[in-house]
């Protein structure tokens, strides 16, 4: 063992005595997640070495001295797109707002690091096709993993989108991590009335992979952002193939698979459109459903206020009603329950719920079945819940019901008005009829 300290990026020669004989490795020191010394060999492979008394390390070159030495081949003839030159007159302007979901990444094969890219130039460099669809203006709004998203950030995002549209954007694309994308899409649906498309997009396979869905999703989303659409939507892969994306209404969409490309599904509704993909961007085509709101149908308004102190409780057999009381006692202003089946909780919850609604805390019932509408008139428990003041969430997803309740509570504190607004279809979040052709997995 050498006394010299070994630093990341150093080029070292390691000799190790083993029962099978001495072995020598030469390579660059990589970051390690274990106790081992991780080397990247010249072949490109990484290996881990247990450093003990059998190991001798020689530093051949310090990281600080390696300068710009790269192992990769240079390919000078590869055309870099020049976003400044491709702008043509009359082209739609699309603002791409980045929140942390990455649609472009670069890989440093020397260190193995993958870095997400956010600038307009970087995005266009990775997906030059976007420049053929529209004049792209990119901006980083914030940069977080979507599981760290917060209601306060929905507000900030809504304000940013509002500003971009006011400044003349013909369409907005928001890159977003997929985990909580449907919450954000629902939030913006309630906060904004928009004359132009506001399209959320993300990827299920990271952008550093050749098989990533990021580029196709981004191309389809950008195309949708130049279409006749006039509402908040999510554009993601429609199937496991690279053949089309669905356009989902922001209030009806839900991530229904942990990893697959086709994870996003319109729940209790049909998608509001489809983007047919082609490698040739001129052939990418947007189809809108009849009930999709059209460009300029609404004028631009913003009402970003929300009441954040709302909770979503999932009911399970035997769950102590004290869980419910906890939120009431902590001063929560509204509660959405994800009940069983048509919208039930066990009978011992009913007095607790009645107490809350008496105190002016709205309780909205949704279903953990996800598909189908709640209906509290079928069984006794349901009828008792209605008597206890529970508001039926219709066919809204629990997440959309939560976001809507937050938004509604910022509009009014009158219980009857809250009930009326929760039962009213505002932006397509509540369906009146469900057909059997529900797009199930």
């Amino acid at each position: 063992m050498s006394e010299m300290e070994v630093l990341e990026g150093d080029r070292v020669k390691v000799r190790k005595r083993t029962p099978l004989g001495e072995v020598t490795y030469e390579g660059i020191v990589m970051p390690s997640s274990t106790d081992s010394l991780v080397l990247k060999l010249d072949s490109g492979y990484n290996i881990g070495i247990r450093v003990d008394e059998t190991v001798h390390i020689d530093v051949r070159q310090r990281a600080s001295e390696t300068g710009d030495e790269r192992t990769g081949e240079k390919e000078t003839s590869y055309k870099k797109s020049e976003p400044g030159e491709v702008i043509k007159e009359g082209k739609a302007v699309v603002s791409i707002l980045s929140t942390g979901g990455t649609i472009a990444s670069k890989v440093d094969y020397r260190t193995g690091a993958v870095s997400p890219q956010f600038s307009t130039a970087d995005i266009l460099d990775a997906i030059p096709e976007l420049a053929e669809i529209a004049e792209i203006r990119g901006r980083v709004v914030f940069s977080i993993l979507s599981e760290n998203m917060k209601p306060a950030l929905w507000r900030k995002l809504a304000c940013e989108v509002f500003d971009e549209i006011r400044r003349g954007a013909d369409g907005i694309v928001i890159t977003h991590g997929t985990d909580t994308m449907s919450y954000s899409a629902a939030a913006l649906s309630f906060m904004l009335r928009t004359p132009v498309p506001v399209v959320f997009v993300g990827s299920q396979r990271s952008a550093d992979r050749p098989s990533s869905d990021a580029a196709m999703n981004a191309i389809c989303a950008t195309k949708a952002a130049t279409s006749d659409l006039g509402e908040v939507a999510v554009v993601m892969h429609g199937s496991t193939s690279d053949d089309f994306c669905y356009i989902h209404r922001g209030t009806k969409v839900r991530k229904m698979h942990t990893s697959a490309r086709y994870a996003f599904v319109s729940v209790n509704a049909m998608p509001i459109g489809k983007v047919l993909y082609s490698q040739n961007v001129r052939d990418v085509r947007v189809m809108l459903a009849e009930d999709a709101r059209r460009r300029e149908e609404d004028s631009l308004t913003l009402d970003e206020n929300i009441e954040e102190r709302c909770a979503l409780i999932k009911f399970y057999p035997g769950e102590d009603p004290a869980v419910f009381d906890f939120f009431v006692e902590r001063g929560y202003r509204g509660i959405v329950i994800e009940g069983t089946g048509l919208g039930h909780v066990s009978a011992d919850w009913i007095p607790h719920i009645r107490r809350a609604t008496k105190d002016g805390i709205p309780v909205v019932m949704t279903s953990q079945c996800i598909f189908g509408s709640v209906c509290l008139r079928v069984y006794d428990t349901g009828r008792d819940l209605l008597h206890a003041g529970v508001i039926e969430g219709g066919d809204m997803t629990p997440e959309t019901a939560l976001v809507k309740l937050m938004w509604v509570l910022a509009q009014t504190s009158d219980y009857d008005e809250i009930r009326r607004m929760m039962r009213e279809n505002m932006v397509g979040e509540l369906g009146t009829r469900r057909t059997c052709s529900v797009q199930l997995l």
């Binding site: 081992s36 991780v38 390919e75 050749p210």
Partner: protein
Amino acid sequence: MEMDWEELGLKVGLEIHQQLDTRKKLFCGCPTVLCEKEDAVFKFKRYLRAAKSELGEVDAAAIEEAKKRRAFVYYVYESTCLVESDEEPPGELNDEALDIALEVALLLHMKPVDEVHTMRKIVIDGSNTSGFQRTALVATDGWIESDEGTVRIDTLCVEEEAAQRIGEHDQHSDADMQEYSLDRLGIPLVEITTSPDIKTPSHAREVAERIGMILRSTGKVKRGIGTIRQDLNISISRGARVEIKGVQELRLIERIVENEVRRQLMLIEISEELRRRNARVERRIVELSHIFRDTSSNVIKRAGGKVFGACLRGFGGILGIEIQPERRFGAELADYARRYGVGIMHTDELPAYGISADEVRRVREAFNASEDDCVVLIASDDIERVERAFDAVLNRAELAMRGVPEETRRAMPDGNTAYMRPLPGAARMYPETDVPPVSVDEERIERILRSLPETIEQKKERYKREYGLNEELARKIAASSSDLFEKLVKSCCRGGAVTPKLIARTLTDTLTELAREGVAVDAERIDFEEIFRMISENAFGKEAIPDILKFLSAHPDAGVDDAVNALGLRAMRLEDVERLVDEVVQSRIDFVRERGMSAAGPLMGVIMKDVRGKVDGKLVSDILRKKIASALVMEHDRR
């Protein structure tokens, strides 16, 4: 062509890919079974894009693939899951596969690494749905002995097998769409890379054979067509390193090495000639459709009459030079164009393809080209494709002036090779963060060392030593991977007619001969022990073995005894044999007188016709010799 390999500076390295016979795939729980494409439950379509590295570098091989903008269609089976479809992160590295890889590494005297890190190697020809192959370095720094000295083994990696191309040999398969079958994707394999220590074509074959034997010694590798593939890295001093992919048959190795050396020598000659001529490549692509307005060429008519050309100054006659058996330099350029789905025609081979001498004359005129020049034509109505194809062809023509380009080539069944893609750079690997590193501790290595199998090589030497088998028979029986031979030797050899050699011959040559006759003997179901026991008790002669095996194969429920009865093989009594021999000798006594002892051979044939299988031939021969000798003595006495 007799060649002095040493003077040419021939260096060959081998890369051997062997599928492992594990229960599950390398990164998911799917079985490692192959399917018929008719059993596909559905298909899906994908595109791949090359991700950029930090400096805007993209691997040269990756750029080439991306330029082709191909769609990939994948066949999905009940036996594949979301991991193969690239819809789910991979599981952890298969422990069983790692154990086998370590076992092979130790047999090759290699040193395992302390911690195995799975990497992503960018491959965007569609053969991996993810766009990369997962691969991990397991061991380094080993060696094997060969007839021409020690050959070092550089690395052993465990990696996922790629998806199987469907319609591989379809002419147009390189164009717009390529189909792949997902059943093979993810089967574990080991990749063994030797140093370029191999010096001759036959040496390359020998080393490949030896490594193959070591792999089979484990009894844990897949067998059969396509389960082992050899890649060859070949260079000569004045040439370049060329990687030849996918050699499936060992017997082709020598021819491929020889052809590649010859190809490189021819390319060097061509480059010298082109430089002497001051040749140059004009990068001007001219549309020539007007010349072919009334052409009778179907190739051009099919392309909607659209023809484009470019001129290679000073290349006259060069494209017609044969650089591999039956393969001209023009074919080399055509390989580059074919990757964009078009073919080329050139003035070295025209008039042909229905193109008239007059049209050729006008083509030359259009470029002011003389006989010293060569005009290359591409007929296609897809302008973009024409541009890309010309770009590739003209680049290759420019390289011809410099000598041998480094490339990856594809082995063809006739021992030739065709251009595949540029050599991949080292710039295409980064960590597979979804798979945690696996620590290889000393306990694990000791466990594997303790149960290391006897290699086929060691077994062969032992059989020669212990059982007196000759080299060939020892090799055959050692390679046959079953313990049956030694089991039978132990239970049946008690002197007499049943020898280790007889058992070995029966289990190898006899079965092979029967197979050739169309009799498939299921060795597992045959009671060899009973057969050999009966022979050793002189119940019947060893000559009857093929007939008994045939009978038992045709009657799976019959026993050896039934076969003996049915075939009328019950052994003759000794006195009957003696009487029969006596009769034969007496009835041919003139012949015996004339030939003396050498009459034994022909007479043996006559007797055996009647007694084959009923009595041991050796016994008959002894009796016959005795009878002939005594007949001769009597004759002598009579005189």
